[in-house]
Symmetry: C2
């Protein structure tokens, strides 16, 4: 995997990305966040055009919250930010892979990755520990 | 990452998985496929309840094709199958992470991963080569 490239994308690069991405009927595209060096898949969230442009323009990952119907600057409340290392598109242009450098934990439960449950030995098991108390992440 | 576990899941494990997964209004959930040992993110596709049950029950990954509105047994035509190593759920239950052992290439373009385009140096670049000619994968 490539090393960190913290520099913001140029307007031309943002234009090319937005032209290549196929947004769904709601104007959204799923984005997978992967820790750039360890390869750990951290989470999946959604982006609209504005979130893609802001993420590329600032180098700090911004999603679109479907629940709140608003931009969601990852880590804005919790401090657990994601620095963009590289944005990739899949063959159909309808999914993004974000190589990121995750500060602390990605999951609102205080775990490093949101994928902390697995089918193992015939049952659904929790396979990762809480690293930061969510109270600490989001206040009382 | 854990090593390969090729054994099919028990009916009880399948029941627990289906109970925990939050399918969307179309009865689908996005599933990320990641090569279990290298950590490479290969693709994202969708599953319905039947696809999840078949994948866990057989140990061979089966998606739901939104275009064809039918089960899509990965590699059925191309031979490029995905053996399931482990199925994981995210915190909200609305996304799956499949740790797989990918035979050959995951992408219909003949590339190992579908995420072969990246924003680099101000432009959208192709960052991976075709490994198998698609004609070879799908016939004439």
């Amino acid at each position: 995997m490539s090393g960190p490239r913290p520099s913001p994308a140029t307007p031309e690069a943002i234009r090319q990305a937005l032209e290549a991405i196929v947004f769904d009927a709601d104007g959204l595209v799923p984005a997978i966040a992967q820790q750039h060096d360890s390869g750990e898949v951290l989470m999946l969230a959604w982006m609209n055009r504005e979130a893609v442009a802001e993420t590329l323009g600032t180098g700090s990952v911004c999603y679109f919250s479907r629940r709140r119907q608003a931009l969601w600057r990852k880590g804005e409340r919790s401090g657990q930010r994601q620095a963009l290392v590289e944005l990739r598109l899949d063959c159909d242009g309808d999914c993004l892979l974000l190589l990121v450098d995750q500060t602390g934990v990605a999951c609102h439960t205080g775990r490093r990755s949101c994928f902390f449950r697995a089918i193992r030995d015939g049952a659904l098991e929790t396979i990762a520990e809480v690293e930061i108390d969510p109270k600490e992440l989001y206040g009382e």
